[in-house]
Symmetry: C2
Subunit: 212 residues, 2 copies
DNA sequence: CGTATGATCAAACGATCGTTTAAATCGCTA
DNA sequence: TAGCGATTTAAACGATCGTTTGATCATACG
């Protein structure tokens, strides 16, 4: 039993890393199982087939991401004094935390790649399982940005999400300076992203501005 | 001779479409040549190998994109009355025009994928074709946004580029209403993107604002 | 201890991959 | 029209792919 969990987990970890580096089609089960230190047949045995493994890898992190986003949104949703930056914080911070997690940047690269490839597996998985989260955020953004019509809002959310996903996949250049702690750098990055997203989302309107 | 050109062009066209839909690794030469209506061996004969074909497909559009961006930048670069929106126009409009071209959206999807790509060869191709153009734009942005330090500027340019690339790859793109012409819709989209980019790039500073 | 059960293993399966080969065919000039 | 280089073709190559198989190992229970 404990052996089973160890094998499955080693496969998932190696898959996350390899999929991010080579893509789904570019990763062979032989290279994957070799990196994980397990037998080739272990993937079929524990996950059924390669396609099911891909889904499992995606779903594991997406569940974590959406759970944390919903929890964060719970604290600000519908309140009269909620600011745009607070909602964006609930949207961005959980994603950034995942990207800082072990293997998390691999997942974010995988996600960015799947976005760019318009991967059908991901699109279906996203819309089927996580659509309600995006709708909650959209409703909250709409409440705070009443001057935007629905189409305009959704469009800007797509732009913001695309920018953030690519940013968190690590293609960006920003690096932590030696004189700031890792913790402080994470917080700086979060604030950078929030301000960027707030500017892009709310631009053109009379949106209330934050004090920072 | 004319037969050669026709065959090579049919391969390039089919490749652009298939690569965008299935990815590089997910596209087989058999499916590709079948869609192009040419013999399987034609790829090896005209391009050498699959990798060379990929490079050719990328390079064809990148040359066009960068030529047009440079030409547009020539008209505003270094002038005392240049606005941020004008520079962004030179940056965004050529890309949008390509995305509206036949097969252009496919190329943009390939480009978006290349952003998330870890493959060093693809990244080198991009930096070779993009590098000097991006530096020219960066210098011009820096001139118009003197309150931003270099790191901050590059960071925001990455975010903007990521958002635009994904947007132009058609992921969740805004739809044209029935009562506006295609031409007008393109212009509206261009202005939307420029305003979004300007807000993200210049936010937080005392950047001069456009008259709309 | 004997044996069921789940997990791992080496080996092989058929399918498909990118690439190569050599013959057939085309377009053109002498 | 004969000849020749350029192009296209069908067929095959070896390699690698995802998946399956049946034997072997480990462990828990009567």
């Amino acid at each position: 039993m404990t052996t089973t969990v160890a094998t499955k987990d080693r496969i998932l970890r190696a898959a996350e890393e390899l999929f991010a580096r080579r893509g789904f089609d570019g990763s062979s089960l032989r290279e994957l199982t070799s990196a994980a230190g397990v037998n080739l047949a272990a993937v079929s045995y524990h996950f059924g087939c390669k396609e099911k493994l891909i889904e499992k890898v995606l779903r594991r992190r997406l569940d974590q991401l959406n759970t944390q986003r919903m929890a964060a949104l719970d604290h600000v949703e519908g309140r009269p004094d909620t600011t745009l930056e607070q909602v964006l914080d609930a949207y961005i911070r959980p994603a950034l935390e995942i990207s800082y997690d072990v293997g998390g940047e691999c997942f974010m690269r995988m996600l960015a790649r799947a976005f760019a490839e318009r991967d059908e597996r991901l699109r279906e998985l996203l819309s089927q399982n996580y659509g309600h989260v995006m709708r909650r955020f959209a409703a909250e953004f709409a409440r705070l940005l009443p001057h935007l019509d629905k189409v305009e809002l959704y469009w800007r959310m797509d732009l913001v999400t695309g920018a953030l996903t690519l940013a968190m996949s690590g293609f960006g250049m920003i690096q932590r300076a030696d004189n700031v702690s890792e913790q402080a750098h994470h917080e700086q990055t979060t604030q950078h992203l929030i301000r960027f997203a707030a500017a892009g989302l709310g631009q053109g309107g009379l949106a209330r501005h934050t004090r920072q």
